[in-house]
């Protein structure tokens, strides 16, 4: 099994979907990625350019999967620019998944940016399980909202609710995901909270969950080289995000002194979040 996921597959990009001017989804065929668990990620090789971790995005076709990239630095921009027919390499999926307790009936999902990728796989999963959810999607501004249509399609007829919010109010509710969440948890009851997105946002979500005694799981990001627990570059306190995470629960998060405070740079030095 492990040998299996570690073996690099070379896949062809079969479709590209422009989500926003800076976010793109690349679709490819790969059975291991197709059956990835919500929260798992791939190491994506952009030949002779970079290898970067990417959450596994869902795709409607059987046997297919995708990645959704925000154009950012060197590697992500190169990946963003790959076209239909180009080859990329994959290994994984790696990491722990979001877990759902047995008698969980209603969950709250808070995501921002490409943090929505693992959350959508979760939404898709729970929709099949008939678990209801309220999904809060945050973006800075209207142009940066994506996955809305796709999410509506997935939750269609499930009784789940999608709330979009933007910092500048140009679309959906005005305000941050955390402020939306604070209203939601006041007015409604949830069994668990799931979050992925910018770390400071997640920090807010986790604190709010703790204050409301809600179990919470967050999928964290750290700089990753190996993805398999060798290099240590992804360490966060005494955890390896690639192996022990990326999904951590409220108990694990409570012991992480650096969560929401600092991350380690490519050379391993700690850098504080702005």
């Amino acid at each position: 099994m492990r040998t299996n996921i570690n073996k690099r597959r070379i896949v062809q990009i079969e479709e590209t979907i422009a989500e926003t001017p800076t976010v793109k989804t690349l679709v490819f065929k790969d059975s291991l990625s197709y059956s990835a668990k919500p929260g798992q990620f791939l190491m994506i090789w952009i030949p002779r350019i970079e290898e970067i971790p990417m959450s596994v995005m869902i795709n409607s076709k059987e046997g297919y999967a995708a990645v959704t990239i925000r154009k950012f630095g060197f590697g992500s921009t190169a990946l963003f620019e790959r076209k239909k027919g180009d080859l990329i390499g994959l290994r994984g999926p790696y990491g722990k998944k979001f877990t759902i307790r047995k008698n969980c009936k209603k969950i709250l999902i808070i995501g921002g940016g490409t943090g929505l990728v693992p959350l959508l796989r979760l939404v898709s999963y729970i929709s099949k399980k008939k678990i209801k959810s309220t999904i809060v999607m945050g973006a800075r501004t209207k142009e940066e909202v994506f996955f809305e249509k796709l999410t509506r399609k997935i939750i269609d007829e499930t009784g789940s609710l999608l709330i979009v919010c933007t910092d500048d109010g140009s679309y959906g509710i005005k305000g941050s995901t955390v402020s939306v969440m604070s209203k939601l948890v006041r007015d409604d009851t949830f069994d668990c909270v799931y979050t992925c997105g910018p770390e400071l946002m997640m920090k807010g979500v986790v604190e709010l969950s703790n204050q409301n005694s809600l179990p919470v799981q967050a999928s964290l990001e750290r700089y990753m080289k190996c993805g398999i627990g060798i290099c240590g570059s992804c360490c966060l306190d005494s955890s390896l995000v690639c192996q022990d995470g990326t999904v951590f629960n409220e108990k694990q998060l409570s012991t992480m002194l650096d969560f929401g405070i600092s991350y380690r740079d490519k050379d391993g030095r700690k850098v504080n979040y702005a």
Binding site: R2, T3, N6, K7, R8, I10, M43, W45, P47, R48, I49, E50, E51, I52, F74, G75, L87, G89, R91, K225, C226, I228, G229, I230, C231, G232, S233, C235, D237, S238, L240, Q243, R264, K266, D267, G268, R269, K270
Partner: protein, 309 residues
């Protein structure tokens, strides 16, 4: 050390260093975080070796830097990324009881002196000088292949510390025993053998080398028989304490290295498939073996194979 005490059945001595058991973390593996070191210590590790540290922070090479090759073997060209001496001495400043050996890398004896001057006040058990990283120019193996450079660097470290020094050797273009001899003569107390071997992997679909650095170092399962040979040759010919390294993935491998002549072993790549708990598993199994064989202490195994001609 009381060898009759049950808890000491696994303890070993490496020059002035006393370890509760012979398992160590290999350099470059998870080696930049004090919190991780503490977790490893809770997993019953004997000692940890840090990532090789240089005077200034190094970003290392772009990814891919680490490739799992399958069958428990790995290829890496991390490029010695590390936080540098200032940040790292801060990282270790709170260390109290974890047996930490700092791995040092540099391109001149001056750099090594500089680092040791900073690190020597920390609570650490010694140094490992990396003269064998096979994929960064002007560092590691390029120096290890030059006996004069080895001599100078080891002397520079020796002059600045009373702590034990291990020199980490590899399979380069100088005989490993010769390199070890030069190191010992220059003042090293221990030899760590071996580092990774220069190797390469090419993807045949894209027809491109996979590592960003093209060439890297082979580690894991593949190199164990080479590591065993080097430990055997060095310990037999020089009769110095040797730390075995390369492809250790089970208690059996630890025993094989010790019989070959190792006083302790380092474990690296295998963590990519076993996780940190491997130290707990291995030490438990080693204890069982020692008891089954009726040994007073595991060190009785060290170098048993030397007697065969």
């Amino acid at each position: 050390m009381n060898f009759n005490d049950k808890n000491y059945k696994l303890s070993v001595q490496l020059d002035k260093i006393h370890l509760r058991n012979p398992t160590m973390l290999a350099s470059g593996i998870l080696g930049i975080s004090q919190s991780i070191f503490e977790r490893l210590y809770d997993e019953n590790i004997g000692a940890v070796v840090t990532k090789s540290i240089s005077v200034n922070p190094m970003k290392g090479y772009p990814n891919p830097t680490i490739i799992p090759l399958g069958g428990g073997s790995y290829l890496n060209a991390v490029g010695l990324s590390n936080p540098g001496v200032a940040a790292f001495s801060k990282e270790l400043s709170e260390n109290r009881n974890i047996p930490i050996m700092i791995s040092l890398v540099g391109s001149s004896e001056k750099e090594f002196s500089k680092m040791v001057k900073v690190f020597d006040s920390l609570k650490i058990i010694g140094y490992e000088i990396n003269l064998s990283c096979p994929h960064v120019s002007k560092m590691g193996m390029e120096l290890g292949d030059d006996p004069e450079a080895v001599n100078k660097i080891v002397r520079a470290v020796r002059i600045n510390t009373n702590k034990p020094i291990s020199v980490k050797v590899g399979v380069g273009s100088i005989d490993v025993v010769e390199l070890a001899r030069v190191a010992i003569e220059a003042g090293a107390n221990i030899i760590t053998a071996i580092n990774t071997l220069r190797a390469m992997s090419i993807d045949i679909e894209t027809m491109m080398p996979v590592l960003s650095n093209l060439i890297g170092g082979l580690s894991g399962n593949a190199i164990k028989p080479i590591g065993i040979r080097c430990v055997y040759e060095i310990s037999k010919k020089l009769q110095v304490p040797v730390i075995g390294c390369g492809g250790v993935s089970s208690w059996q491998d630890v025993i094989e290295y010790m019989i070959a002549g190792a006083s302790a072993v380092q474990i690296g790549s295998i963590l990519g498939s076993s996780g940190l708990k491997i130290f707990t598993h291995i030490t438990k199994d080693l204890k069982k073996y020692v008891e089954k064989k009726g040994l007073r202490n595991i060190s009785e195994l060290i170098g048993i194979a030397h007697k065969y001609q």
